[in-house]
């Protein structure tokens, strides 16, 4: 798989080199940010450094994030931790540290053996802490810090008469460090732009790694940073190509699309078992997984046009989902293609979208239309007015279909405005009930699923899928979200308009292949150049500067 991806990247790279497009805007840059590591990033980092068994043995102690401008990841830049959460982080750190040094792990996680298990060994402790600390801090530790941590390990070993207990305490102190838990962008003067700044090499390494792998940089990437390679065009492209060719790219893309499609909602999603007896927790979990598998297969494994995700009939099937789709399958996940006559094509007709954006007991054209616009087109649907009167909707009388219920509701002018931008496309999905199961009728009445999406009219679900696929905002929205995700915070319509247009154009030139878009973003100047915050511009000095945080470094 890696070879295949590498070949694809190489060929696409050659094609890209032959394409003459608009150059990247000269003033492109992104802001410095301090962002809280997400729970998944915390787990992935532990798994990559210490192994999946240790990562899986502890629940990520990080708080939930507020969705900001369409992404939880963008909320991370506004998140802090409370004293209670610090306590949880400390407990997790102690648990992880104890695991790392226990009898089952120490032989392959600790690169040396102490002279005696019952007393301090500064040499061995320093060796471990220097190596592991570099991966956790995502930069090398200076020797002062190594000595400080070694003293912690030695002191604890002397008190407990246990070398490994001492080492665990020092490791715990690393794991609770704010510099580990927070991803801190550090700037340095940009030699190519006097008076301007760029990310330092280690911050750039972290930004690249969390963007593409959703995890901390590995040894090779830190080495590239250490050698200054990430600040050369060749070195950066080489590093990005390696990241894109890695199997870990799938982890990164799954995390991004899970975030973009608001799949965190599945954590609290439930259906009324009386109305939808076939929908269980396993069904919903599989629905989420089905869509992620579809996305990864389409954009990564097959490297196809992103827009075709909204019309493709190819997906994957599991046993609990197959019942909802009314089709046979075998055990495990298997590739599946919906028959042409099945009315299923594209992500909008998958259970994940249909069920997540419905009520517990019925479908909701409004929720589906709203989700379609906000998740995939980056449009904002205003919330209902606080004094909205739902009685007309709830007590619509003897009307069998959602279209008729909403018609009654929308007789209220204050409701009609917003519903006009959500309901026409949501009503096109009324052939699927609140669990995502196909239906010909609702309450015995034939369903009218005609509608229009921003000028494109249709009278079938396939028509909506095609209209979505051809919507000009569809690729723009992905560019917007990916750039925000990669740079750690929401885009600025004031500053980022040109760079987003540039990426959108490049995306089109690459026939909407997502891996190439990732590469364009990762190697762009905007990704590594720092845009000073207006109020902080005057603070730039001739040394490293952190974002307005008060974090102590080293």
């Amino acid at each position: 798989m890696r070879c295949r991806q590498a070949s694809i990247m190489f060929i696409v790279g050659l094609l890209a080199a032959c394409t003459s497009g608009t150059p990247e805007p000269e003033d492109s840059a992104s802001p410095l940010r301090v962002r809280l590591m997400t729970g998944e990033q915390y787990s992935n980092t532990l798994a990559d450094i210490f192994g999946a068994d240790i990562a899986d043995s502890v629940a990520p102690p990080l708080p939930p994030l507020a969705r900001t401008d369409g992404l939880l990841a963008s909320g991370a830049t506004y998140a802090g931790v409370t004293s209670d959460q610090i306590q949880q982080i400390q407990q997790a750190a102690a648990f992880v540290a104890a695991k790392v040094v226990d009898d089952y792990h120490r032989d392959f996680l600790i690169p040396c053996e102490p002279e005696s298990n019952k007393k301090a060994d500064a040499t061995c402790a320093a060796q471990f802490l220097r190596k592991t600390g570099r991966l956790l801090y995502r930069r090398p530790l200076d020797e002062t810090r190594v000595a400080e941590l070694t003293r912690v390990a030695d002191s604890a070993a002397d008190q407990t008469e246990d070398f490994y207990a001492g080492l665990a305490l020092a490791l715990e102190s690393i794991l609770i460090s704010p510099e580990v838990i927070f991803i801190v962008d550090i700037a340095e003067p940009d030699p190519a732009r006097p008076g301007q700044e760029r990310l330092n090499a280690y911050s750039l390494a972290s930004r690249l790694s969390f963007f593409l792998w959703n995890s901390a940089p590995d040894d090779a990437l830190l080495l590239a940073a250490e050698r200054g390679e990430l600040h050369t065009q060749d070195g950066l492209e080489k590093a990005v190509t390696r990241l894109l060719s890695s199997a870990r790219l799938e982890d990164g893309l799954r995390a991004f699309f899970d975030d973009m499609m608001a799949f965190d909602e599945f954590a609290s999603l439930a259906k009324d078992p009386v109305v939808y007896p076939m929908v269980t927790g396993a069904t919903l979990a599989d629905a989420r997984e089905q869509t992620l598998r579809t996305v990864i297969d389409h954009i990564l494994d097959k490297d196809l046009d992103y827009r075709d995700l909204f019309t493709t009939r190819k997906t994957f099937m599991s046993m609990s989902l197959a019942a909802l789709y009314e089709t046979p399958t075998t055990n495990g996940w298997v590739a599946y293609e919906f028959p042409e006559e099945s009315n299923r094509s594209g992500l909008l007709t998958q259970v994940s979208f249909l069920a997540a954006h419905s009520h517990a007991v019925r479908s909701s054209p409004t929720l589906r239309g709203k989700a379609l616009r906000e998740l995939f087109l980056c449009q904002k649907v205003p919330p209902p007015p606080p004094d909205v009167d739902f009685s007309a909707l709830e007590d619509a009388g003897d009307v069998p279909t959602a279209r008729e219920r909403l018609k009654v509701h929308n007789s209220n002018p204050s409701c009609a405005g917003c519903h006009l931008i959500t309901d026409p496309m949501g009503l096109a999905l009324e052939n699927f009930d609140g669990a995502g199961r196909f239906r010909e009728t609702e309450n015995g009445a034939e369903l009218d699923i005609s509608g229009e999406l921003d000028g494109a009219e249709y009278d079938t679900v396939g028509g909506l899928a095609q209209a979505m696929r051809d919507h000009p905002k569809l690729p723009y929205c992905l560019v917007n979200r990916l750039y925000a995700y990669g740079t750690g915070g929401p885009v600025s319509l004031r500053y980022d308009r040109n760079i987003l247009s540039y990426f959108e154009e490049r995306f089109g030139e690459h026939n909407y292949r997502v891996p190439e878009l990732l590469r364009e973003i990762a190697i762009s100047k905007a990704f590594s150049r720092v845009r000073p915050a207006p109020e902080a511009a005057e603070q730039v000095v001739n040394g490293n500067r952190a974002n307005p945080s008060k974090l102590a470094l080293n």
Partner: protein, 359 residues
């Protein structure tokens, strides 16, 4: 493999909702003339009246505890070897020697079941719906044992639960060549063993139609049996299967039932198939299943004396005489069965519906 399977499933073209198409008794043509059902409940058919006076006027049978008190009344003279071990040995090595204790057979005239021998004899029951010649001697043996009586009998409870919980017990039938699920004078019925868990609702208790089951072509291959049948007014009646093995795990102990001349009588709908499995149960297999699945603790709970029951079964056995001794080795029986529609997946058929693995 992924593509192959995908093509296979698409080839089936089974993408319509069976449930949405027809109600009981309505005409319904299954896609590709094929519909599968998976067993969700199976237990010996026991006709019960509310106070049991009709079928058990002398009351219910004693179990191991009650018999122990009768057989060994003097606590002072009891020894482990002479009491518990003696009874345990006889339970595991039963004989047809005369039973020193009374045994209550069913005495009522009625029973569920089928007329297996197409005769109406003096020992036959009458069906509650009036049908005569019902052969069900297992009922005559177990009908007055509380462990076999529903809904709370220990055997009933455990067996129902085991069928749902244990994939070992996954038995399915597939009907092919079905033009109309309400009436078709010639359909093929194949019995398979499945491999997968049942699809249930969120409570985990109600089995839902529309699940998928893979055919066990490895260990289950020898359980695959095919017969023909006809459907009249939504009732399927099959010709006998000479010898059918039904996997029967209970309380985590795997065993089987062996039914000779097994036939099915099922009321079909697009989502369910309910009715009877009937035939002649091999007595020794029947008994072995009971005592392998149930310890004396469970037998005591259901007042089931294995020792007495074995003697009764042998005494009532009414078919398949041993060529040497002349003693019948099989006993007529009927089992209540409930099945739910399922998509049966033949993994090695490679899209070719016509090349079943059936014998």
């Amino acid at each position: 493999m992924k593509n192959r399977l995908s093509a296979l499933l698409i080839g089936f073209g089974i993408t319509v909702s069976c449930a949405a198409l027809a109600e009981d008794g309505d005409s319904f043509a299954p896609p590709d003339g094929r519909i599968g059902y998976v067993m969700t409940n199976l237990f010996w058919s026991v006709y019960q009246t509310p106070d049991a006076q009709q079928e058990c006027p002398d009351g219910f049978n004693d179990g191991p505890r009650e018999q122990f008190e009768i057989l060994f009344p003097d606590p002072e003279s009891r020894t482990v070897v002479g009491t518990q071990l003696k009874q345990e040995i006889e339970t595991w090595h039963p004989t047809v020697d005369p039973d020193p204790l009374p045994f209550h057979y069913v005495q009522g005239p009625y029973s569920y079941g089928l007329n297996l021998d197409n005769e109406i004899g003096p020992n036959d029951f009458t069906h509650p719906d009036g049908g005569e010649g019902i052969d069900n001697e297992v009922y005559r043996a177990v009908g007055c044992i509380i462990g076999f009586r529903g809904p709370d009998g220990v055997e009933v409870i455990f067996q129902d639960k085991a069928i749902a919980d244990r994939r070992y017990n996954r038995t399915m039938i597939e009907l092919t060549g079905v033009d109309d699920l309400a009436n078709d004078d010639d359909v093929t019925v194949t019995v398979y063993r499945g491999l997968d868990r049942l699809l249930t609702d969120a409570t985990g208790l109600k089995v839902m139609s529309g699940g998928s089951q893979r055919v066990d072509t490895r260990w289950g291959a020898r359980l695959i049996r095919r017969t023909r049948g006809k459907i009249t007014d939504s009732v399927l009646t099959t010709e006998p299967i000479a010898e059918a093995i039904i996997p029967w795990m209970n309380l985590s102990v795997p065993t089987v039932q062996l039914i000779r001349d097994m036939r099915l009588q099922l009321t079909l709908s697009p989502t369910d198939a309910n009715g009877l499995v009937a035939g002649y149960a091999d007595v020794d297999t029947w008994y072995k299943q009971l005592i392998r699945n149930d310890s004396t603790h469970h037998l005591s709970n259901g007042q089931i004396s294995g020792i007495s029951l074995y003697k009764a079964l042998r005494r009532l056995a009414d078919a398949y005489p041993d060529p040497e001794t002349g003693a019948n080795t099989a006993i007529s029986t009927a089992l209540d069965v409930k099945m739910t529609q399922v998509f049966i997946v033949h993994p090695d058929r490679d899209g070719n519906v016509g090349t079943d693995i059936s014998p």
